[in-house]
């Protein structure tokens, strides 16, 4: 596998992310090289506790390194060798790095923020790990962004929409966001170190703080946001409101966001912004490798897998796999 890190993210819950991950793990189990597995935060976990549905356990193949919290490590159902315990605490205790001595099941939890995940992936590489798989969450509740990884696999399914065109449209929107162009050169590093506020980016790539506490204050501020040019950098969350505001400016605006997970706008508003000549770039981008679909939703709805797959492939030009089928092949 040529990527050093790969995140598997679900568009929503029950899109078959875990099946996809287990499938990948089985494939990797047959490959040479050292692989590692972790997760982003505990976001999914807590919601599962609310629903009282158990979080699906991951089957770790023999020899694989995995990282999970102390709490989940103690509940593991496999033989594993402890390699390291982090000094940093997460909500579920310190993070334990271990190697599976025999295949078995474990609950995954991991660093709760992007920086922690980045450092963890770096540390695993020094242990000779070739690729780290990240069980990712796409949620505004998660502080960590899966775009820290080089590559992504996106899971989608009937739970997102019971109507195939609608499901394709929604998925396509997220794929479009993932594919947003990355800011290059020195500017990337400069943007990366900024984590809040609203900034103007000048013609010669300098950053000027517009001294707005948040994007929600845009309209109320009397200052001319575009006196330094038409590029704006917003590292925090970006909503419909911002796009609507930017759309009505005299000149087309280039908006730079941290990564695609920071965009919380609805597709309609986002595309309207683009049609008006606006453009969006990201500081961090991951390559989208493939899409998995789950034609079944938890409320019993079952879509036609072949039709769905066909529609997705045609629209998105990506490999599409049905998780229920890949689940059976072993």
């Amino acid at each position: 596998m040529k990527y050093r890190s790969l995140a598997i993210v679900g568009l929503e819950k029950n899109t078959g992310k875990t099946e996809c991950l287990n499938y990948l793990l089985r494939q990797i189990g047959k490959m040479d090289g050292q692989f590692a597995l972790t997760s982003i935060g505990i976001d999914g976990e807590s919601r599962d506790q609310v629903c009282q549905t158990p979080k699906p356990e991951i089957e770790v193949p023999e020899g694989m390194i995995f990282v999970t919290s102390e709490k989940h490590y103690r509940q593991k159902r496999l033989i594993a060798e402890v390699l390291d315990i982090s000094e940093r605490q997460t909500a579920l205790g310190r993070l334990v790095t271990a190697r599976a001595m025999q295949a078995g099941k474990v609950l995954l939890s991991g660093p709760a923020d992007t920086m922690g995940l980045k450092m963890l992936i770096g540390k695993l590489m020094t242990r000779g790990v070739q690729t780290t798989l990240v069980d990712g969450a796409l949620s505004r509740l998660s502080l960590a962004s899966p775009t820290v990884t080089e590559a992504l696999i996106l899971s989608t399914g009937a739970v997102v929409s019971g109507n195939i065109p609608e499901l394709v449209r929604k998925t396509r929107y997220v794929c479009d966001l993932i594919a947003l162009e990355e800011v290059g050169g020195e500017l990337q590093g400069r943007l990366d170190s900024v984590e809040k506020g609203v900034w103007a980016v000048t013609g010669d790539d300098r950053l000027v703080d517009l001294e707005l506490p948040s994007v929600f204050m845009l309209e109320k501020s009397g200052t001319d946001l575009f006196c330094y040019g038409n590029r704006l950098y917003v590292p925090g969350a970006v909503s419909d409101k911002l796009f609507q505001f930017l759309k009505v400016q005299h000149q087309p605006v280039e908006l730079i966001v941290r990564d695609f997970t920071r965009i919380f706008a609805t597709p309609e508003v986002y595309y309207a912004f683009l049609r008006k000549g606006g453009s969006v770039k990201v500081v961090h981008r991951s390559k989208l490798l493939a899409l998995t679909i789950n034609p079944q939703s938890p409320n019993g709805l079952l879509l036609d897998s072949d039709k769905l797959k066909e529609a997705m492939e045609e629209q998105l030009q990506l490999p599409v796999l049905d998780v229920r089928k890949i689940g059976d092949d072993n």
Binding site: E70, Y73, R74, R77, I79, A80, E81, V82, L83, I85, E87, V96, R99, M101, Q102, A103
Partner: protein, 468 residues
């Protein structure tokens, strides 16, 4: 008092502790728990460690060792909680066993480096290593190894075979449950054996924490040019400080491109009244003395070029800008309550150092002067080592008098401005025979550029009064 409490009292002391490059969490905890020492032997022992480490830091052939030691100390975890569980005889889990193994291996390595330095004696943990590293890999990983139990090894092999043969989950589950039971038995017996070593584990953790602190102290002493204080005998009550400075103030001055002028000072068991113009550094002087005394009591080198010091029971300070304004008392009331507390301690026969900055300055000069006389008289009569700064003249109570030389217009060439005014001040102390205070307040106010109208009026009042 511990360092944890002491850093609340003195800003300059907190600064020094924050600047210490203690590498491990265990070392940081150890540092904060160091207790104010009263016996010269105890302090001497701690100072000697720092002296020895300082010598090693100078040796080029030790450079690699010191660097490796630094890295190993950084890797050290504070496993006090785990060691407490060992002592309590708890059954440890894999994570705790991992921590202990990691610690024992690291400590063995540290012992290999620093064991023969004669600074800290580091216990041998070979039996712990042997227990937790049964395969002798010397790699800090841990799990319940097959080698601990032939039965466990057999069960694990069986699980592997059955999985490959595709046996039913329930079958494998049964064997797995059995293997987990045996793992638990192994953990139990390991914990029991470790329990026998709990004392030595405890000692080992404290030893490396101490080593970490000593290394940081010696590095700081070299960095800040601190000196090892000589200690007076148990009964003595004198402090001799040559080239005394305040590291935090010095650092701030250096940032502005200025130098701190060190001061020589000798204190005996009597009240010393210090006079001097405003801006003459009287407050910083008191703070520097307090800092030096705190440092020696906790076994640190002191910021001076030479120091000979007595150990004391306590330093009582009354320095305006460090009081708690939230107590609801007026500054005068708070000061008087502090004075009374000090008097009580002196009467109890406690060996203390009293440092009072501008006593009774917030009240009228007539009564203020009387209060200063009263306090100075009390301190001298009780042979209490004390420094009292004041702007009041007419301090006639028996005491020793020192005066900051203060403003010297021809100290350097050029015009005096607000920016360079510090350079015109000679901060050294001289014996003062009379009881007059320097009259430099007006001059300094002029230089600071205070409104001309006001100053002219003030001068008129001054001459009028002198004529009267």
């Amino acid at each position: 008092m511990t360092i944890r409490e002491a850093i609340q009292n003195i800003q300059g002391f907190r600064y020094m502790m924050e600047q210490l490059n203690v590498r491990s969490a265990a070392g940081r905890r150890f540092l904060l728990d160091i207790v104010w020492m009263n016996s010269p032997e105890e302090v001497k022992r701690e100072l000697e460690r720092v002296v020895k480490m300082g010598v090693l830091l100078q040796l080029p052939e030790r450079k690699t060792d010191i660097e490796t030691l630094g890295v190993r100390l950084m890797q050290l975890r504070d496993i006090r909680g785990t060691i407490l569980r060992v002592s309590a005889g708890c059954v440890l889990d894999d994570l705790e066993l991992f921590e202990l193994k990691n610690f024992a291996l690291l400590l063995t390595e540290i012992r290999h480096i620093a064991g023969d330095w004669g600074i800290v004696s580091i216990p041998v943990l070979d039996p712990v290593v042997a227990l937790l590293d049964p395969e002798g890999n010397r790699i800090p990983h841990f799990y319940i190894y097959d080698i601990y139990s032939p039965e466990l090894a057999a069960l694990r092999a069986e699980i592997r075979v059955k999985k490959q043969q595709g046996e039913a989950e329930e079958e494998i589950e049964k064997i797995y449950v059995r293997s987990v039971e045996i793992e638990d038995q192994v953990r139990e017996s390991l914990s029991e054996e470790l329990h026998g070593h709990s004392e030595i584990l405890q000692q080992a953790l404290e030893a490396v924490a101490l080593l970490d602190v000593v290394l940081a102290k010696a590095e700081q002493a070299a960095d800040m040019q601190l000196v090892c204080p000589e200690l007076e005998g148990e009964e003595a009550e004198t402090i001799t400080l040559e080239g005394l400075f305040h590291p935090q103030v010095r650092m701030k001055l250096r940032q502005e491109g200025k130098e701190f002028q060190p001061v020589d000072l000798k204190l005996n068991a009597e009240a010393t009244v210090i006079t001097g113009a405003n801006m003459a550094g009287k407050t910083v002087l008191l703070k520097s003395v307090a800092l030096a005394q705190y440092l020696v009591q906790f076994g640190f080198f002191v910021p001076a070029s030479r120091a000979k010091m007595s150990l004391l029971g306590e330093v009582m300070m009354s320095i305006g800008d460090e009081q708690n304004e939230l107590s609801g008392l007026s500054s005068f009331a708070a000061e008087m309550i502090r004075m009374n507390e000090m008097v009580g301690k002196v009467k109890d026969g406690r060996k203390i150092l009293v440092l009072i900055d501008e006593l009774a300055r917030t009240t009228n000069p007539v009564e203020g002067r009387a209060i200063v006389n009263g306090v100075v008289d009390f301190l001298t009569k009780h042979r209490t080592m004390a420094m009292v700064t004041t702007h009041y003249n007419g301090i006639i109570a028996p005491c020793r008098r020192l005066r900051v030389k203060g403003f010297v217009e021809d100290k350097i060439k050029g015009e005096v401005t607000l920016k360079n005014i510090n350079e015109y001040i000679d901060y050294s102390l001289e014996e003062d025979r009379g009881n007059e205070v320097p009259h430099e307040a007006m001059r300094i106010a002029w230089m600071l550029g205070v409104d001309t109208g006001i100053l002219q009026t003030a001068e008129r009042f001054l001459t009028d009064r002198q004529e009267v």
